[in-house]
Symmetry: C2
Subunit: 408 residues, 2 copies
């Protein structure tokens, strides 16, 4: 009998009616002859409500305590889902992260799974139980509760699928799959039948919100196929797996975008070894996440150094960089907070030339000026004016024929 | 350094402001030079809300799952209280029942504590932490979460005080002590400075809602003095302990009452061995809690058997008893659902005669007819018409001079 791990997100579990709906979906999988292990997130806004309560009491809540507090949200939904399954006549049992054997390090609010002891889960499966595991949480060697941080429940689900050698990890939310671009942005976006781990990783890193990169990395590492689908309908979802069919490999698969981009340029930086570290180490220490970095060719032994940060971090980044620029003898620091990113992504790109040229050509025909360019093997990203991002997505979606129904 | 265990109830923790208030009270005890271990209930209506949610999903929720669900309420308040203490500059750590080493049997919703391993609590106290334990819960040998049922957090607190050899267990709610009778019923009720375990046990069993009998029994067994006081003011509370001062031993200490009393009389029961079992075993099996039982003297080899039950159980009790009465050749079954109980309680009564006479005399002077009488060594209870209970309490409160300020 094959085992399937299913993960249900908070919107799928918001309220008694939706919990029962999820129970019915689980039963369908079970009736199809599978063993099932379910991973749940906290219901609806529970986590946000708990965080709000904590901050009312202490503006700087202790992370250990916050983790214990937040972990209760997933425990609540796991027990309610078990009760719903019982009500429909199916044996089920809820397990906390600790009971499910999910061991982590002690990095509260962002713990990493160090090991999983699946003994209890296996015992309950043997008893014919549907096993429901509270996602997002684990336990340290000292028996302290931790949470896994953003994407935690996705990570729990994929990690369990890996250790249990599940046939597949199915991830259900209110989104029914991975689209060629954000459908709220561009209605003609098409749903993809499959994407590779690499493509998915680039997509989520460059603007798709579908699933957390940590879970995809883990899926890739252990070869766990991940189905992304909706819990509100029976539309076929998108399968994230290793090998994407031959016919669609040689294509751009998706257009990602990101509107949260600000740029800083330090003009006239002396071009000598170690200068980049002098600028970027203090930024990292200030907790600023630097994204794209571009260094222009050196003229007269000076160079212009440009990098991007999230808009919300622009002011603090400028405050860190300006005194450094002065101390190293650079020129002024310029910033622009009205930028966006548009990316084309596809595994096929790594073996075929011409994608960059086609992208730049399409953008220039729409008079969209490119400010910065970065690439990976399977992605090309252009940083452009924020107001032009929507037009750029539309143009590229057409230029790479994503609006046409292909072989999928 | 002496150790004090404090328990705060749900009304004392309902909302951020009250949680901070409790934190300040704890700090006072700590600043007075004590080590402190705190036991908390779930905030405000949390437990009721969780139960409601469970019943929306399944009318007959599985008890194991319900216990896991309910246990989250106390975990939430323990973490928030820890955060409040941190905010005031004091080291504190929350522990779940499991982390606090509270082992129980596997009787879900009504588990009994089988053992406590205080290692983690002691380790945290050594680190100078204020230790906050989620009350009402424990863990089985199989690492499944249980709840202790009604009075659970009180029981947790007294059990911890016993195992940690605490100087005292302090129990804080919105009630500031034990009164000679219910002050909402009789405004001239006076607060008692101290009561013995035995007196308190009789009081709570016969109508006082102050603290659960289980916690008192445990306190008596291990000799833990229990202070009952309010978390909303600094009024001195009532100390429940072993030896009540000489001067006040020879007295009625309180008047208890209970309005939830229904009576069933089986007329003409054949007076032969085993007949009581034939009636009461089926009642017990039907889950009916039988209270007072009175059997009148036998006339012509038949007897009238009278017993009381809670009003809500009268109909089902009648349905059980009537066919039995017919089958054993008894006469008809009569019932009365408009009854109440009034009790006088005091350790002094066991060594001094005349209390019963004084009680009956006082009631008769008010034309209050007594239907049934039961006694223990330190209590006399009369069952009377429900409508007369308030008058009876008033009369007895005066007759035994509880309205006068004594030596306390």
């Amino acid at each position: 009998m094959s085992l399937i791990v299913q993960k249900y997100g908070g919107t799928s579990l918001a309220g008694a009616r939706k919990v029962k709906n999820v129970a019915r979906r689980i039963i369908k999988t079970r009736e199809a002859g599978h063993q099932v292990v379910i991973v749940v997130s906290a219901m609806g806004d529970t986590t946000d409500d708990l965080i709000k309560m904590a901050y009312q009491i202490n503006e700087f809540p202790n992370k250990r305590e916050l983790d214990v507090l937040l972990s209760t949200g997933e425990v609540v939904s796991s027990t309610l889902l078990a009760m719903a399954l019982h009500g429909m006549g199916f044996p089920a049992i809820s397990l906390s992260g600790a009971q499910a054997g999910i061991k982590t390090d002690a990095t509260y609010s962002g713990a990493r799974i160090t090991d999983i002891n699946p003994a209890r889960i296996l015992k309950e499966l043997e008893k014919d139980n549907i096993v429901i595991v509270a996602g997002f949480q684990g336990i340290t060697d000292d028996l302290d509760v931790t949470t896994l941080g953003r994407g935690g429940s996705d990570t729990t689900a994929v990690a369990l699928a890996a250790i249990l050698k599940a046939e597949r990890c199915e991830r259900y939310t209110d989104v029914d799959g991975i689209y060629t671009t954000d459908p709220r942005f561009l209605p003609e976006a098409r749903k993809l039948k499959e994407v590779s781990y690499e493509e998915m990783l680039e997509m989520v890193t460059y603007g798709f919100k579908a699933i957390h990169p940590r879970a995809i990395e883990l899926g890739e590492l252990y070869g766990v196929p991940i189905l992304v689908a909706s819990s509100f309908n029976d539309n076929p979802g998108t399968l994230i797996h290793k090998e994407v069919s031959m016919e669609i490999r040689n294509k751009v698969r998706g257009i990602a975008h990101d509107l949260d981009v600000a740029k800083i340029t330090v003009v006239g930086v002396p071009d000598r070894p170690g200068i980049a570290a002098q600028i970027f180490v203090p930024l990292a220490e200030a907790g600023i996440s630097v994204d794209t970095i571009v260094q222009n060719a050196s003229i007269n032994n000076t160079t212009d150094l440009t990098f991007t940060v999230a808009k919300s971090q622009l002011d603090i980044a400028m405050a860190v960089v300006e005194p450094i620029a002065a101390s190293i003898g650079a020129g002024k620091c310029a910033s622009d907070s009205k930028l966006g990113k548009v990316s084309i992504i596809g595994s096929g790109m790594q073996n075929a030339p011409g994608y960059a040229a086609r992208m730049f050509d399409a953008l220039s025909k729409e008079n969209i000026n490119i400010q910065l360019i970065t690439t990976s093997e399977i992605r090309i990203t252009c940083i452009i004016e924020e107001a032009l991002v929507k037009d750029a997505v539309k143009t590229l979606h057409r230029a790479f024929e994503l609006d046409k129904n292909g072989k999928e």
